[in-house]
Symmetry: C2
Subunit: 210 residues, 2 copies
DNA sequence: CTAAATTTTAAACATGCGTTTTAATCTATA
DNA sequence: TATAGATTAAAACGCATGTTTAAAATTTAG
């Protein structure tokens, strides 16, 4: 009774797992099509190129994540007093909602985001600004509202420091969790790393500039 | 009167520039040997493999940076009251001292470090721990001294958040500086980005854990 | 049911990579 | 200067990649 999965979706499902684990450049079309149990040429037939496949993989998550984030930010925007911490907490629910896309979706998305920023720097930023520019601006506005003393330039840089710490944590996450488990006996799930990350980020953004 | 530059050094000089700009995987031996005006086979003759070349490039900087950092940390260690900020400031002079290695050395080193961590995660960490493990431990000790309330696990994670923000900033640095210049009219040098980064990092490390 | 369109398949293509080989050339020493 | 050793040079090797081709199979429509 299970509905037949289209070749296109089989490719997307296999690709996002491999991309999230090994990155984009390190994942070959042959790995993907083998894992998807699909012919090699079908990637180019359905998506045109590897680059387009990468975009399609990211798009499937951004379509869910971005509107959910916009909702959270809008809801929080009306609050009279707003802390940086509260703004970052806006990311939690949209991230969790990615479980709808697939089991383990939140972790997969974070890894994809990390690799996307690390490997294809310009492209993703351009894509996000093009498709979700208004949401990015909303985020900037809310962050400024929470931290009015910070100049726009300072906020710009700190937002990217935040992104850097987040992205790096995700990309190096598995290795670091392993080390932490070995050295401190505490084995953390990916979500718990985020729990430790958010106070750090909020503290950084709230720091006095200079 | 200029002393003849050895093939080995010509390769190192060309390689570190290309690595710093495009990363390791994205830089081919042919690009390097062409830029160095040297035969393709000479890389394998002098270094054995591309991986060994990468290591040699990093080693040349670490040999200068790490002892200088150790000096700074030792000097600061004796202070009765020590702030996180002061610990991070320990990185400034060793970083600047890399100008000795070559003009623009500080920026090159930071980029190399960024790509090294982003692309060959495990290897660099292993190399540093193996060759400079004592200095890493000194850093941990001094950081703990500055922030005794933080548990070792928390410190471990925050140190890697710091690394992430730093590394990412360096890898994406050129693109971000360009955007900042276009959007805010402020063109920052790479060093000035570090000036903005350090307060952020200190604020993050000093944040109350939850 | 048949014809047209879509999709799948296997094979080859073109390219770029790190590395190896083998011979030529340079360099230092006796 | 003659010779042994170190270095450079050109070419090719073996392999993996993304992509294209052209025929076969399947699905869709009339």
């Amino acid at each position: 009774m299970a509905k037949r999965i289209s070749t296109k979706d089989k490719i997307l499902n296999a690709a996002e797992l491999l991309f999230a684990e090994h990155g984009y450049e390190q994942t070959s079309l042959r790995q993907i099509t083998t894992a998807a149990d699909v012919n090699l040429a079908s990637v180019n037939y359905h998506f045109g190129s590897k680059k387009s496949l990468i975009q399609a993989v990211m798009a499937r998550y951004l379509e869910v994540f971005m509107p959910a984030l916009a909702n959270q930010l809008s809801a929080v925007q009306v609050r009279p007093q707003l802390s940086t911490r509260e703004v970052f907490d806006c990311f939690r629910e949209p991230l969790r909602s990615l479980s709808q896309v697939r089991r383990g979706g939140p972790t997969i998305f974070m890894s994809l985001l990390g690799f996307a920023y690390a490997e294809i720097q310009g492209h993703l930023r351009r894509y996000i600004l093009e498709h979700y520019g208004d949401i990015v601006q909303l985020l900037m506005a809310v962050l400024h509202q929470a931290n009015p003393k910070l100049s726009p330039v300072d906020m710009f840089w700190r937002l990217h420091f935040v992104l850097g710490a987040t992205v790096f944590t995700q990309v190096s996450g598995p290795a670091l969790r392993e080390i932490a488990a070995a050295d401190f006996g505490e084995h953390l799930a990916a979500d718990e790393v985020v729990d430790r990350l958010i106070p750090f980020l909020a503290g950084g953004v709230d720091a006095a500039p200079l």
